[in-house]
Symmetry: C2
Subunit: 258 residues, 2 copies
């Protein structure tokens, strides 16, 4: 009999979100699942760590094949907490972060707490990936993830991604039958515009809510993650931990006078 896989799950929408419930239910068929997820929403937290204030870790469930913990910190804190306090030196076979409520394609990959956790897992040497659905609806229909996520995970286990790389998987908000399939793509170029809504408090002082609209800088690029998803495909991007630009390093080295 095959050894049961050990699977670590986290997310950035928090332990109570629908996305992580769907993912947890999905992953129990692949192995023993440990969930360590933020107690509260941590969207946009990137790979942030909590320095200067203490963290709490609370056990919520400990059954055969499934243990669940809430952590007061960020998604990357959750991974560190799982590794230090629960795995204690051993490595899970897989880290999967999500299912995020909202796209993490294009520049969102920079800010994403979902992917910050996947990056953190990769630093530990855990094969890691992030799943995101292109819908912010708290009650979103995740059935496309259940169908296409299975194809991706089966491939992931059979032909693993190389060390120091994690996968960013974005699912369009479609029913499984409406999707066109799965495509590898690259991080698209985009930015946010109209980023703040300015308001005045009851005392006459200004404050700002972050809002914003995504602005696609490559509307005609058929290989970008954002556009692949817009066309109705599930998008997969392999992201590196080493973000050095080796070509630019060489170019600057040859022209700068140091």
């Amino acid at each position: 009999m095959e050894k049961r896989r050990s699977i670590l799950i986290t997310n950035d929408d928090g332990i109570k979100s629908k996305g992580i419930s769907v993912l947890t239910a999905m992953m129990t068929s692949y192995g023993d699942v440990t969930v360590v997820a933020p107690l509260e929403a941590q969207s946009g937290m990137s790979a942030a760590l909590t320095i200067g204030k203490p963290l709490r870790l609370t056990e919520l469930k400990n059954e055969k094949g499934l243990r669940v913990y809430a952590c007061t910190g960020t998604p990357a804190d959750c991974v560190k907490m799982a590794m230090n306090q629960l795995y204690k030196g051993s490595l899970p076979d897989l880290l999967i972060s999500g299912i995020n409520h909202g796209s993490n394609a294009s520049v969102a990959s920079l800010y994403s707490g979902t992917l910050g956790a996947a990056a953190e897992g990769t630093v530990y040497g855990i094969p890691s990936l992030g799943f995101s659905l292109c819908s912010h609806n708290p009650e979103a229909d995740f059935s496309i993830v259940e169908v296409y996520g299975k194809i991706i995970l089966d491939n992931f286990f059979k032909n693993p991604v190389k060390a120091d790389v994690f996968l960013n998987v974005n699912f369009p908000a479609l029913k499984p039958g409406e999707a066109k399939g799965i495509r590898f793509s690259h991080q698209g170029k985009g930015k946010w515009i109209k980023e703040f809504e300015e308001r005045t408090d009851p005392y006459g002082f200004n404050y700002y809510w972050m809002t914003g609209e995504f602005f696609n800088l490559e509307p005609d690029n058929l290989q970008s993650d954002h556009n692949v998803m817009e066309m109705g495909y599930v998008s997969i991007v392999p992201h590196k931990i080493d973000t050095t630009d080796y070509d630019e390093l060489q170019r600057l080295e040859s022209i700068w006078k140091l």
Copy 2:
């Protein structure tokens, strides 16, 4: 007469830290300076954004050639706030983040709020760089940054870095005369170990402080940023915003069955 440059400064140690004061004094000789920095320390915040709670922006100084603001958010929030509320569509000629109290070499580049701000500037299309000194001393001697930072900035203005790339500059905690020079390098491989200190509160419950030691996974690599700095050089690494691993993309595309 040359047009005066417009320079945006931020950091992650907060508006009151010595590093940002030294940097601000240093940069006023290069042009008109706008400082928008976190009100409180934001170390380890990566490229995190503040979503779900409002931000404040407070003007602290507005003189000829120097305006200073505190923002209640993260370093990346500060850049967004500067661009939306102060620059309003125009771009500064330079964003410089720091001087960080502590190294941002190796895996620290993933968690660094200093570099999160530089990445955010790069997304806007601002030529951006981060300066960090390898010392956590709040009263550290930054004179090595003043001497070698000038050489780096002169080169930066003469031969700019290409679009979508920012520079991560790490200075060893040495006197200028003790440093061996400046070297281009790449992001070193490392991780943190012994990451939490567990304590018990007065009510009998556990809590955790993030601490940790840096563990160098490439002690013999003479080109890694961490090691270059350990050898006594100022290290410069160009980092990409597009973190897609294009080789791995092609490899997976050819073997996965999708």
